[in-house]
Symmetry: C2
Subunit: 254 residues, 2 copies
């Protein structure tokens, strides 16, 4: 049970302890009231000086995980993760549903640019063709949870940025181009440390984790319509892969 700390691995002891405390919280380290053991006890448990434990607690407090009160102790701020469904018919607002009072996706930028190799391959275009890029930020009850970048073929979806900005919904924007339904044809998932842009847009602490999904959406005939890269704040969401569900016309993909 005693975590093994090591020096000289490029990760400071206080950060290893911070990770250890964060892991321990999910494992009954704090008592029923959310109170952590006193610093002296943690220092002994991890085999380090109390100063080092204090540095770890300060980092977690800065991340919003812990809250120290002089004379009372250190308490865990509990926050439940949102469950974000990944399926053939994934939609941002519909997916989060009743988990939050207010879910919204705001456009924070758009541009016309030339398709990179990945975008071109996903949309079935030649590299360098014009595409429209949309940047949006998903929030639940005002807290940023995801940052999404989408690409559309420019010749087919001229003006989609304005439509998305007005409606705040990819589904509604696509409906304006006669696309009544679309399906996710592929999704890849990876996780990495937050980059500077992630920490800024998603209001993350440095060193936080983001889950990155790369998806391609196609219309009912299977032709690619949109591709996207979405970065989720890993400490605020959990992805859930769902079985296929019937579409609005009652059909079901095989």
């Amino acid at each position: 049970m005693t975590a093994q700390l090591q020096r000289g691995l490029g990760v400071a002891l206080w950060r290893q302890i911070a990770d250890g405390i964060r892991a321990g919280i999910a494992n009954g380290l704090a008592d029923e009231t959310g109170r952590l053991p006193p610093e002296a006890g943690l220092a002994e448990r991890f085999g380090v000086n109390r100063h080092t434990v204090r540095a770890a607690i300060a980092a977690l407090a800065h991340e919003g995980v812990l809250e120290s009160q002089q004379g009372r102790g250190t308490y865990v701020r509990r926050r439940q993760r949102l469950i974000y469904p990944i399926g053939e018919r994934t939609r941002f607002s519909a997916g989060l549903g009743d988990q939050a009072r207010d879910t919204r996706s705001d456009m924070i930028g758009s541009a016309k640019e030339q398709a990179t190799a990945w975008v071109a391959a996903a949309l079935g275009l030649e590299t360098g063709r014009d595409v429209i890029r949309l940047e949006s930020l998903g929030r639940a009850d005002g807290i940023p949870v995801s940052r999404s970048t989408s690409w559309f073929a420019a010749d087919r979806f001229e003006g989609i940025a304005e439509l998305f900005a007005r409606t705040g919904s990819v589904t509604a924007a696509l409906a304006g181009f006669g696309i009544s339904d679309y399906r996710r044809t592929s999704t890849s998932i990876e996780a990495r440390h937050a980059e500077e842009a992630d920490t800024r847009e998603l209001q993350l602490a440095p060193g936080a984790i983001v889950i990155v999904t790369r998806a391609v959406n196609g219309d009912l005939s299977g032709a690619p319509v949109q591709c996207s890269v979405t970065r989720f704040a890993a400490d605020r969401v959990e992805l859930r892969v769902e079985a296929a569900t019937p579409g609005p016309d009652g059909s079901s993909a095989g």
Copy 2:
């Protein structure tokens, strides 16, 4: 495109650069021959001293990712992340397929224990009923990529640990109990920092990221058979959600 390094957050620059190089390898950092840019170039790109880049390369060489040759350059030993499919018919070895010469899953422990609330709910049992827990380690070409914990109802699958240890396959072990096919009924995905057990079993550096999947598998009638928690080394794999595929009998889930 330029990775943003941050000082003073408890993670050494050389370790951040090591992570950056590892991520960059999957993104065309190395040329066709697998050769990395020279140390001086990397140092300029990351905005650090060459010594610092050398520390990062040394760490990656120690992990088996890179190999330096004096006077020639630094070469990548393994080009990209493994792609691990998540679908209704996910299997460890079959999924990784031809991405590695040797994929295997070794049992590293087993125990009979009482079902926790989560396990009981997943398997459709009462909390506290006997279950069998299997711990296994998945490797590709000898490198650990995943650590999996599975639970089975003890009364129905008595002796499954021995069968799994001998065959190294959950599919084969279940076949021994008359279960010819099974489907993944649900999967949740989250990402967190590696705990001590993760760093030990998966040979990760402290502060590394693990992707955690929780899955329930059921037989063809939909009854739960097995549930599992799998931890993937986030810098070695990428998950991919796949569309439903027909089973060996030609059926397709709706």
